[in-house]
């Protein structure tokens, strides 16, 4: 594998905007040579033979940048991540589009080559840490395994490194904990183990799929702070899937909002939070607890639920739940620039009207 690209420190790239596919993004990149994105997804469509679950998704994540993917359950966030890692399981498969890691095309790469990239150049943290760890192997060994596979370390050296990593992710008494089995550790502790595993080979990209959802609030805050600090230390790009907007505000540089398999809005975290352009994003914002006072004490909700992929309406998929829906919405809106940093797929973007 020749995945050599200069390690770019976090500082320069923090705050970079996630450019979203299409010609304009490419043009912008030409005019203003940004650092080569770590992850570049273009026109990704994922689904089974019968139905598409992720549609034409394009994303870019720069070195050191954190992109949050948000949306309700079942909108295709996790599948997008799994597709990026090449971990889709039959019958779901990548039907179109490309995934590039530091400029190297991953889609279409054989399983053997992909395996050399996974764990070394890109790592994934899963939602349920306890179930995601092998119940019959000591956790230290499970972290050491990544090092043994990718860096050909001896069992002893790998175990020593695993203990160092445990210390780094804030596990007290790392040497003793490394000998524990997952069932002997708490959920937060298991998630720290997963993070240690992901960091083991200092990857360019970490994909965290609802990494803190299963944890209680205080643990969640600790883990988020830890991930942010470690990210700054090694300059890793991060894709963070969540449906918790509080988490987004805490860690994201940029945001992509997904609805029913498509990206409906994207932009810098400040832009999207200050002026959400898509009615769905607005709805999500209104569902937050701080929106409570503004709405006169009643917590807002988006009426209805995400349509099942097979029953997705034609045109804009949100139109069946959208307060602004009208005739033009039967045509699919394209992602178009909105404001300074956002792009939105809506015929009637913005708060006004």
């Amino acid at each position: 594998m020749s995945l050599s690209v200069t390690e770019n420190g976090g500082a320069g790239a923090t705050g970079a905007v996630a450019h979203l596919g299409g010609a304009t993004a490419a043009l912008a990149a030409q005019r203003n040579p940004a650092p080569q994105p770590v992850l570049e997804i273009e026109g990704l469509t994922v689904g089974t033979d019968r139905v598409d679950l992720v549609l034409d998704v394009s994303l870019r994540v720069a070195p050191g940048e954190t992109l949050c993917l948000v949306g309700e359950s079942g909108c295709g966030k996790s599948l997008t991540c799994l597709a990026a890692m090449g971990l889709l399981a039959a019958p779901v498969r990548r039907k179109a589009g490309s995934v590039r890691l530091s400029g190297v095309e991953l889609s279409g790469l054989g399983e053997r080559r992909l395996r050399q990239v996974r764990g070394r150049d890109m790592a994934m943290i899963f939602q349920d840490p306890v179930a995601s760890l092998n119940p019959v192997q000591r956790v230290g060994q499970q972290v050491a395994e990544a090092l043994r596979v990718h860096e050909a370390l001896s069992q002893k050296a790998a175990s020593r490194r695993a203990v160092e990593l445990f210390d780094k992710v804030g596990i007290a008494e790392p040497a003793r904990r490394a000998d524990a089995y997952p069932h002997e550790l708490s959920g937060g502790m298991c998630q720290r183990v997963m993070i240690a595993m992901a960091l083991a080979c200092r990857p360019r990209l970490i994909v965290a799929d609802e990494a803190t959802t299963a944890l209680d609030v205080t643990t969640q805050a600790q883990i988020l702070r830890l991930m942010k600090a470690l990210q700054e230390e090694i300059g890793t790009a991060m894709v963070f899937v969540t449906h918790d907007l509080g988490v987004v505000a805490e860690i994201a540089d940029s945001v992509a909002v997904m609805y029913s398999g498509r990206i409906v809005e994207t932009g810098s975290v400040d832009g999207v939070f200050d002026a959400p352009a898509h009615p769905y994003t607005q709805g999500l914002m209104d569902c937050r607890l701080h929106a409570l006072a503004a709405a006169g004490g009643r917590l807002a909700a988006i009426s209805g639920s995400v349509p099942r992929p097979a029953e997705r309406p034609s045109g804009c998929a949100f139109r069946t739940r959208c307060p602004k829906a009208s005739l033009p919405c039967e045509r699919l809106p394209m992602l178009a620039p909105f404001g300074a940093s956002q792009r939105v797929a809506c015929h009637f973007p913005g708060r006004a009207t």
Binding site: D128, S132, P135
Partner: protein, 312 residues
């Protein structure tokens, strides 16, 4: 493993052995008189009485039982009426042959069963999978003596490539091994396939893949240890059953092992020998069960007593 765990297992094992010994002792003595079996029909009553007295069969049953148990405690397994020497010697000299047959059948069971089961699980829905499933159904439903007779018919009678009975060369071992091992291999294959299929979709398998672990290693280091418990259980049960199966197979192939000895000793009412063989079988079962219990704890750290405290 805590001492308490071992002690409980040990007591349970002793109880099992005691029950087996008692049951066989009583049933054998209710099922007929050895003297009738051994002496000619026209033997005078006085001679019969003399023999009964010699073997202690004239005593009340409880007394016979106590004498027998007291003998066992001293390592005396009784006397073979037929061979006129200690029953233990008679049995022990047959053990190596049965062990030879049992171990080769076990090797076949594990090799074929695990191999076919793993392959079928990994290639689910493929021709290999369907072939394995067909084999397990056939293996399960065909009585092993019938398979043995078929093998003799084809391989020994029609094509004449293997000897039909007896011992000596490796060729003699082939047909009894296949006969004994096939149905067990079928069971093991079935369990291996289903427990592996269950494990393959667990989140930790995806984690292993996301770590970049090579495929073979994900199966050997992550899937099989997790699928191991049901497999160990069924293999343990089958090892016990191998001995029972050997009785039939040894008879079909005239294999002079413990199984054949048991059959002829029962027919002969050679009480001490039958009791010794049953005790041996029960003992083997107990040992195998104990080994399986240990294997559980070794396969899955969540099972077994005396775990280290490492809670977070």
């Amino acid at each position: 493993m805590s001492p308490r765990f071992v002690l409980t297992k040990l007591l349970r094992a002793l109880l099992t052995l005691a029950l087996a010994v008692t049951f066989v002792f009583v049933v054998l003595r209710m099922s007929g008189d050895p003297v009738t079996q051994m002496l000619p029909d026209d033997a005078p009553a006085s001679v019969r009485e003399q023999y009964r007295e010699m073997w202690g069969l004239d005593r009340p049953l409880p007394e016979q039982y106590l004498r027998y148990v007291a003998g066992l405690a001293r390592g005396d397994f009784g006397f073979s009426f037929r061979d006129d020497r200690p029953a233990l010697d008679v049995v022990l000299e047959r053990v190596p042959l049965t062990l030879e047959l049992g171990l080769s059948a076990l090797a076949l069971t594990l090799g074929l069963g695990l191999g076919a089961g793993i392959l079928a699980a990994l290639r689910r829905g493929s021709t290999v999978d369907h072939a394995t499933m067909a084999f397990t159904i056939l293996g399960h439903s065909m009585p092993n003596f019938f398979l043995g007779i078929l093998l003799i018919l084809w391989l020994a009678m029609t094509w004449r490539i293997l000897p039909s009975s007896g011992v000596g060369t490796w060729q003699h071992l082939v047909m009894p091994t296949v006969t004994l091992g096939t149905s067990y291999a079928a069971t093991v294959a079935r369990f291996t396939r289903s427990s592996l299929l269950e494990v393959l979709h667990q989140p930790y398998m995806r984690t292993a893949k996301a770590k970049g672990v090579p495929f073979g290693r994900t199966i050997l280091r992550h899937a099989l240890p997790n699928a191991g418990i049901p497999i160990a259980t069924v293999v343990g049960l089958r090892i016990g059953a191998l001995i029972g199966g050997a009785v039939v197979v040894e008879t079909v192939f005239a294999w002079p092992g413990v199984g054949q000895l048991l059959v002829s000793s029962v027919a002969y009412r050679d009480l001490a020998v039958v009791q010794t063989v049953v005790l041996l079988i029960a003992f083997t079962m107990v040992v195998v069960n104990f080994l399986v219990d240990i294997t559980y704890g070794w396969l899955d750290p969540r099972i077994g007593a005396g775990r280290r405290e490492a809670r977070a």
